[in-house]
């Protein structure tokens, strides 16, 4: 079961448009290509509105009716290959939750408050693998134990509100892991929890990654990305601005936006002055015609930045959407 030539998930030119109420077309994701190898770990970073969550939801067929998805996303396992874009809902059920697990930001909203954990953790397991009720419960208890929930036999009978925030987030992860997916997509799973709990949850994901589950981590926190992931894709205004090995991108950022994100990130014991990015994240309805980042870019030089920017390959493993990177 080693890595084949094809990555586990291969996304090519993914785009998402929304029809808004005033009949405007809002482009949330534009020409995004990413790939995740079996056992790989990818961070998708960017600010709110950068298209991080929308692109993940598009891959999972979870967008509302007013969204149009184009491009391609293939799920490759062994010799079989499934196109996820446009996949009928029934066939999606064989992949979503089973092959690709999901963890969302707000565990209180993602869990059903009126149902005890047990049913929420076993329901999809019974649906997916058609195992017996007793077997499903055993696996669910094991999953809760695996994510570090003490006394899983007792906790599995509780309702979400009876658990603390960190515990609920772990229960969510357990729910995603019960079916033993090959890829886990975690969308800001630690944004709403305390730092010590965040560390516990990330250690859990690190452990999972080390045991061979591929992880896609959506986050705006570069510290979180750095802790967990090997590769990074920086999104801005629904476009890939820079994609590279994570260490490479954060130690020697090339795109001005990546530099800006790093300049905005505060570290303990780091006396370097704060260098915030000026301005605000872009309006997706009224996009600048050229580089999406131009209005906030400290290196804006007018003419060349006013043209649409292509992704430029820099070195062996890096792509950057900025004409300046040609010199790198």
């Amino acid at each position: 079961m080693q890595t084949q030539d094809r990555p586990l998930l291969d996304v090519r030119g993914l785009g998402v448009d929304f029809r808004t109420r005033d009949h405007e077309r809002l482009t949330a994701v534009k020409d995004v290509s990413i790939s995740v190898a079996a056992g790989g770990s990818l961070a998708i970073v960017g600010e709110s509105g950068s298209g991080k969550s929308v692109s993940m939801r598009a891959l999972l067929g979870l967008l509302p009716q007013n969204a149009t998805v184009h491009g391609s996303a293939t799920w490759n396992e062994g010799t079989s290959s499934t196109e996820l874009v446009g996949l009928p809902a029934r066939q999606f059920q064989a992949i979503r939750g089973r092959k690709i697990g999901m963890v969302f930001q707000n565990a209180m909203q993602a869990l059903n408050p009126t149902i005890p954990l047990k049913r929420q953790l076993t329901e999809h397991l019974r649906w997916h693998s058609a195992c017996t009720r007793a077997e499903a419960e055993k696996r669910a208890i094991r999953a809760l134990g695996d994510v570090g929930i003490p006394e899983p036999e007792r906790r599995i009978r509780m309702y979400p509100f009876q658990l603390s925030g960190g515990m609920r987030q772990r229960a969510m992860i357990a729910m995603a892991l019960v079916a033993e997916p090959r890829l886990l997509i975690a969308d800001e799973p630690t944004t709403a929890v305390d730092v010590t709990v965040q560390k516990q949850i990330l250690d859990l994901l690190v452990d999972l990654r080390d045991r061979g589950t591929a992880v896609v981590m959506v986050t705006h926190d570069l510290g979180v990305a750095r802790y967990l992931c090997e590769d990074v894709v920086v999104l801005y205004s629904g476009q890939v601005m820079e994609s590279a090995r994570l260490g490479e991108a954060l130690d020697r950022p090339v795109h001005p936006y990546t530099k800006g994100l790093l300049g905005s990130a505060l570290d303990l014991g780091d006396p370097s002055p704060l260098r915030p990015i000026g301005g605000n994240p872009p309006d997706l309805v009224d996009r600048p015609p050229g580089c999406a980042f131009q209005p906030r870019c400290v290196d804006d030089d007018g003419a060349r930045c006013a043209e649409p920017q292509e992704l430029i390959t820099v070195g062996a493993t890096r792509e950057v959407r900025c004409w300046r990177s040609i010199d790198e």
Binding site: A37, D194, G223, Y227, L266, L268, P276
Partner: protein, 275 residues
């Protein structure tokens, strides 16, 4: 000792919240001082009592026991009129700017609301002051005519700061003012607050769970856990040489963005980036 003047002093503050089967001691015997012009950081996780403590300091809620002195005056013994006079010196900036601004009045009216309540100036002078304040926090005059829903989270937080500055307060209580914002906007708001403090000289009590923010902003820090102060002192000392295990756990959970966390290097694997 040439200690700077103490602005605010709290002595043995306790706050119990009632409830079925006992109740909770949210703040447990906390004492602190804030000097004129300084920033005191309060860190701790959710439920540690940080926000309750802040509300006790400016008497937004009444303590179960303990005392608060502002420039030597016993805040808890003040008559309503006197309290109101002092309150103009204390302002708060909250976490969620959408929730703390009034949605049905314009940005300029939000900013000048404290002036209106304090019966300071007339409509026109208040409007002029609001526009001046908007410029101070890096917004344009034209933003004054908009309503909060038309602005982004970061812009609204600037409006909330402008409103807090309207009465030229001596003490600004900031309760997680950047936690709901994007990283790039967080950095903008932090440098704004630091610049304004240098210019205007107000004291700050800065509540956050982000230790790196406290390190930048606060000369002294108070670490809270379950209502108690587990450690307090100059930030550099507390963070450089934490005595309490809880402080150590907090510091150990901070994930650096600029360099790998020691001992957590990710082993190199076969290339995952596509060919």
């Amino acid at each position: 000792m040439s200690e700077p003047q103490v602005l605010l002093r709290a002595v043995n503050l306790v706050k119990d919240f009632g409830g079925r089967g006992g109740g909770t001691r949210a703040v447990d015997t906390v004492s602190l001082e804030v000097a004129a012009g300084e920033t005191l950081g309060i860190v701790g996780e959710s439920g540690s009592g940080k926000s309750t403590l802040a509300r006790l300091l400016i008497r937004l809620i009444e303590p179960t026991s303990g005392q608060v002195f502002y420039r030597g005056e016993d805040v808890l013994a003040l008559a309503p009129g006197d309290l109101r006079r002092l309150r103009s010196q204390w302002q708060m900036v909250f976490q969620n700017p959408f929730g703390s601004l009034l949605p049905h009045i314009s940005v300029a009216d939000n900013v000048s609301e404290p002036l209106r309540i304090g019966r300071i100036g007339d409509r026109r002078s208040r409007r002029a002051r609001a526009e001046e304040l908007l410029e101070t926090v890096g917004l344009a005059k034209r933003h004054g005519d908009l309503y909060p829903h038309a602005l982004s989270g970061g812009q609204n937080q600037r409006v909330a700061i402008a409103r807090a500055l309207a009465l030229e307060p001596e003490l600004l209580i900031c309760d997680e003012p950047t936690s709901a914002l994007d990283v790039s906007i967080q950095a903008q708001i932090l440098s704004l607050l630091m610049g304004l403090q240098a210019e205007l000289g107000f004291s700050m009590v800065f509540i956050t769970h982000n230790l790196a923010v406290v390190e930048r902003l606060a000369g002294r820090v108070l670490v809270m856990d379950r209502g108690r102060v587990v450690e307090a002192g100059p930030t550099a000392e507390v963070f450089g040489n934490p005595a309490d295990p809880y402080t150590r756990a907090l510091l150990g959970s901070v994930l650096p963005a600029h360099r790998p966390l020691e001992g957590a290097e990710i082993p190199e694997r076969t290339s995952l980036v596509d060919d």
